[in-house]
């Protein structure tokens, strides 16, 4: 039995402490935004934010996450933005995070399986650097984490354009 905080809510889970967080999120909590890509922290498909930092949930044991640490999954991005902007609960329901909005406007995904991690990484980046340069975006996706975020469909250009659009949307406060 463990307690974790996911997308603003405290959740009790029965899984053994050595269970990778990915399986807890997907199978116990039905938060299926993070995907299983490699199980080796080499691709980023399973990424979540823990206290605002991008973390690979496939190699993060449940017992390594403290009850008061804030886990944010793809599902939690709209609420994270709403909280940041002080939107009402009603407004929050109909709001996407600007990163998600930009991903749609730029038609970024092809198969989309890696894009959970790409959007999590974009959120981490833009929260600390609201106006990143091209070089900084490339660094975020290749050297800032434990491995580069990989996309097999080759959407890297579309990701860069979406990050830039998200930065604009966030600056405008949407």
């Amino acid at each position: 039995m463990a307690t974790i905080t996911v997308n603003g809510a405290r959740r009790e889970v029965q899984a053994p402490g050595d269970t990778p967080l990915l399986y807890v999120l997907r199978n116990d909590l039905q938060l299926t935004g993070p995907q299983f890509g490699c199980g080796l922290a080499q691709c980023g498909a399973c990424s979540v934010l823990i206290d605002g930092k991008e973390v690979r949930s496939c190699l993060t044991a449940l017992s390594d996450v403290a009850p008061n640490q804030e886990i944010t999954t793809l599902e939690g991005l709209p609420a994270r933005w709403a909280k940041h902007k002080g939107l009402s609960a009603e407004e929050a329901k109909s709001t996407l995070h600007p990163v998600q909005q930009a991903w749609i406007e730029e038609q970024t995904p092809q198969c989309g399986f890696c894009q959970n991690g790409m959007m999590i990484k974009a959120t981490e980046l833009l929260e600390s650097n609201p106006n990143p340069t091209l070089k900084q975006i490339k660094e975020a996706y290749t050297t800032s984490g434990v491995s580069p975020n990989l996309c097999r469909c080759g959407t890297y250009t579309a990701i860069i354009e979406a990050v830039q659009r998200a930065a604009t949307l966030m600056a405008k406060g949407r």
């Binding site: 899984a15 053994p16 050595d18 269970t19 990778p20 399986y23 997907r26 199978n27 299926t32 935004g33 995907q35 299983f36 890509g37 490699c38 199980g39 080796l40 080499q42 691709c43 498909a45 999954t73 793809l74 599902e75 709209p78 996407l96 998600q100 991903w103 749609i104 038609q107 970024t108 995904p109 092809q110 198969c111 989309g112 399986f113 890696c114 894009q115 959970n116 959007m119 975006i137 490339k138 660094e139 996706y141 290749t142 050297t143 491995s147 580069p148 975020n149 990989l150 996309c151 097999r152 469909c153 080759g154 959407t155 890297y156 250009t157 579309a158 990701i159 860069i160």
Partner: protein
């Protein structure tokens, strides 16, 4: 009711009938009927429709028009990230029906019990007339017939806008037109539901003139992107059935090992797990995913296999192919471009090239490993939940494996990680294993391959090499060209779990296989240099490496991957053409223009020359350098015709001779597909494909020893990262006079490799003729 008679109405070969009047609702269902002699496959007798299939002989449902003037469309093809079924298909149907894009509210794709036509998810645009375009065109004519009677006007006096038909000052919507009636339009179809092509709609209904298009050509968004981005989509990975258990498979130690003994499960650690052994297939199931993973690792540790060393190893691969492989049993294929008499010209020419080009095995490498849920019910019904490019063919394969009919198999399709052709013949990897394990435990089983399984037990795109002999004349033109392509077959659709379990499968590719399972190496790269007077193109086939020697008939199993066969043939051709231009002392783009007669090929070459900032001059550049630690720069070009689309690509690269590193700095592509259906979606497809192509050119090669594949993760099989992408420019050439839609999601991956290799020659003066162009190999080439 306007339609007073039950007399069938002929609609350009299709038949419109009214089955009955209904009191409420009403729907125009467009069905299909079988013509010709091709029967349905499997145990199903001819003209008998499989249960759990849409009945192709009765009015069914390609297209439903509802009373509220909304439309549902169905297609057996499904989305792999191209977005075509959600964008282009909607646009094509809306256009032919003269309705707005938004009227096409629902797209049903893939599921074998809910879609009519089957076939692999490739060639979505069907050389300009995909099934749904014809169906929509037939439907439009039927609607006009109905409206003609209702409005009391001849068909040619009717006008249609946004699904509303008008004449004589009166108007009626399609929805009102069909309200209260159930009407059937029966259209001709032929083919085989469970093969790689599926069913094709026949006949020639009149199509809307391109000049009247209002929906095609606009950048509508792909609806599934929004649901994926907002975490609202149900992916295949999210399928969770009541009572479902998690499965992992312990694959053999080598690609030729047989099972000696399965490991014993540590029941103290894994009290709820179970080991299943069937032939050489060892599976572990458990109630939770984490227990299944750990239990499978523990069982794998204790499982004993025979050893096998039947592969040449990748370091001796080309030597093996050249000297030991059997190229004699398979008939040599020739292309239609063959003409003249190459031999004497080559013999007497003084400017000629003789070279061999090599291309590695590579992995489809989906970002998520294959995964499926099998659910074998007590009553014999089998459900498979998966992400698959050819659900109807998978259905046939599962039925064959279990010795049942396709009546008893339903394949359900969900979005998943793209795998670029791997399942266009029906299996992605995990489906058959999930079914076998489900049958054994009597519960739904979710089989998820781990990354290593996907690297080592999936199929791969086969190795190839090509021998080129060519000559250029004193006028700088191609005088003679001869190419011999050598490649193992690339369509092994045997489900590997069934093979391991010793259950029935289709045969492995062989000399006497059919058009898809044959070892024959057909010429697939359209010849574009018609000015050349003497041409020979030959394709030589052999067996899959290690398959016959493997005691379990596995070895290196191959499968088509994005731009299959044509990539393996276009790379050597285009690189050789660039080398021929250098030999002739002519600029590489101009040399191509001088040697082709095809206007659209010239069009893309000129467009890419402009877009890329190409400097017209012969290669290599005058100051080409092959030593030193200062990067040297060059540019190269490539050209292809695929699925009705002309492509040209220019890559600008920087080579650092001392390290062997190649950086692609700029990549420009010009694409003429005829009619551009959706510019935004096509641009994204092209960009993505180009990146994959750069990845393949620079990084990708399957490594293996005498026993099996030695890569098991993204470190040992690296792909391109964002750090190494070039500046990319895509020029779309909308060419409506072509009157058809060329394909867009393939080909882009094949263009970079020959352009990069030609740019390397331009920069350094050294020819590089093997993929991938990794630093150690590059350094070796520069030392020659």
């Amino acid at each position: 009711m306007a339609t007073k008679s039950n007399k069938p109405v002929d609609v350009f070969g299709a038949t419109l009938t009214r089955r009955q009047f209904v009191k409420t609702g009403g729907m125009l269902a467009v069905g299909i009927s079988m013509v010709g002699t091709a029967p349905l496959k499997g145990d199903t007798p001819k003209a008998t429709i499989a249960k759990n299939s849409l009945d192709p002989a009765l009015p069914s449902s390609w297209i439903e028009i509802h009373p509220d003037n909304t439309v549902l469309i169905r297609t057996g093809k499904n989305d792999f990230g191209q977005g075509t079924v959600f964008t282009a298909y909607r646009q094509i149907v809306a256009e032919e029906l003269s309705m707005p894009f938004e009227a096409i509210t629902t797209v049903v794709s893939g599921d074998t019990d809910r879609t009519p036509d089957g076939g692999g998810s490739f060639d979505f645009l069907g050389r300009g007339t995909p099934n749904l375009r014809k169906v929509a065109a037939y439907t439009y004519q039927a609607l006009l017939d109905l409206a003609s009677k209702k409005l009391g006007a001849e068909k040619d006096k009717l006008s249609v806008k946004d699904g509303v038909v008008s004449a004589n000052g009166k108007s009626i919507s399609y929805g009102d037109l069909i309200k209260g009636q159930e009407l059937n339009l029966t259209i001709p179809v032929r083919g085989d539901l469970t093969n790689i092509i599926g069913l094709s709609v026949e006949g020639n209904p009149p199509m809307k003139p391109v000049s009247e298009y209002t929906v095609i050509g606009k950048s509508f968004k792909n609806s599934v992107i929004a649901s994926k981005v907002a975490a609202r989509e149900t992916w295949v990975t999210d399928v969770h059935l009541p009572g479902m258990v998690h499965g992992r498979v312990v694959h053999p130690k080598t690609l030729g090992s047989t099972l000696v003994s399965a490991g014993k499960l540590d029941k103290a650690r894994f009290p709820n797990s179970q080991v299943i052994v069937k032939g050489n297939l060892v599976g572990v199931v458990a109630p939770t995913e984490w227990e299944a993973i750990q239990a499978a690792l523990q069982v794998a540790d204790g499982t004993r296999w025979t050893d096998w060393k039947g592969l040449p190893g990748n370091t001796k691969l080309y030597e093996h192919l050249r000297n030991d492989a059997d190229w004699k049993s398979t008939p040599v294929m020739k292309s239609g471009a063959t003409k003249g008499d190459v031999g004497p010209v080559l013999a007497s020419a003084h400017r000629k090239l003789s070279a061999t080009y090599q291309m590695s095995y590579m992995k489809h490498a989906p970002i998520g490993p294959t995964m499926a849920v099998g659910d074998v019910k007590a009553d014999g019904m089998v459900h498979v939940h998966t992400h698959n490019q050819n659900p109807q063919e998978l259905r046939g394969e599962i039925a064959k494996m279990l010795g049942t009919s396709i009546d008893h198999v339903i394949v359900h399709i969900y979005p998943g990680p793209g795998h670029y052709g791997r399942s266009n013949g029906g299996n992605a990897g995990a489906e058959d294993e999930a079914v076998i394990l489900s049958q054994a435990v009597g519960k739904p089983v979710r089989v998820q391959w781990m990354r290593a399984d996907d690297m080592q037990w999936s199929t791969q795109s086969p190795v190839s090499f090509s021998d080129v002999e060519l000559a250029v004349d004193d006028q700088g033109k191609l005088a003679a060209y001869q190419i011999d392509h050598f490649m193992p077959p690339m369509q092994d659709d045997r489900p590997v779990g069934a093979v391991l379990a010793g259950l029935p499968t289709m045969p492995a590719p062989d000399v006497h296989g059919d058009f898809i399972t044959s070892t024959a190496n057909n010429i697939s790269d359209d010849w574009l240099y018609a000015e050349a007077p003497h041409v020979i193109e030959r394709g030589h086939g052999t067996f899959q490496v290690g398959q016959k020697a493997s005691p379990i008939a596995v070895g290196l199993r191959d499968h088509s991957m994005r731009t299959p066969v044509q990539f393996q043939q276009n790379y050597p051709r285009e690189l050789a053409i660039s080398e021929a231009a250098a030999l002739a002392g002519v600029d590489a783009i101009q040399f191509r223009i001088n040697n082709t007669r095809e206007e659209r090929a010239i069009g893309v070459l000129k467009a890419v020359r402009e877009a890329s900032g190409w400097d017209t001059r012969p290669s290599p550049r005058p100051d080409a350098v092959s030593v030193g630690s200062t990067p040297v720069r060059g540019r190269g070009v490539s050209l292809m015709l695929r699925d009705g689309t002309y492509w040209a690509c220019v890559c600008h690269i920087a080579v650092t001779p001392s390290t062997g590193a190649i950086a692609v700095e700029k990549c420009a592509l010009a694409v003429d597909p005829g009619i551009v259906i959706n510019p935004m979606q096509l641009k994204r497809q092209v960009e993505g494909g180009a990146m994959m192509g750069i990845s393949i050119a620079l990084l990708e090669e399957v490594t293996f020893d005498e026993s099996g594949i030695t890569q098991d993760d993204w470190v040992s099989y690296p792909i391109l990262t964002m750090a190494d992408i070039p500046e990319i420019k895509v020029e779309l050439i909308h060419n409506p006079k072509v009157g058809a839609y060329g394909g867009g999601s393939e080909a882009a991956n094949a263009l970079a490799a020959p352009a990069i290799a030609a740019a390397f020659h331009d920069a350094t003066g050294k020819a590089i003729r093997r993929l991938p162009m990794k630093p150690a190999y590059v350094q070796a080439v520069l030392r020659t």
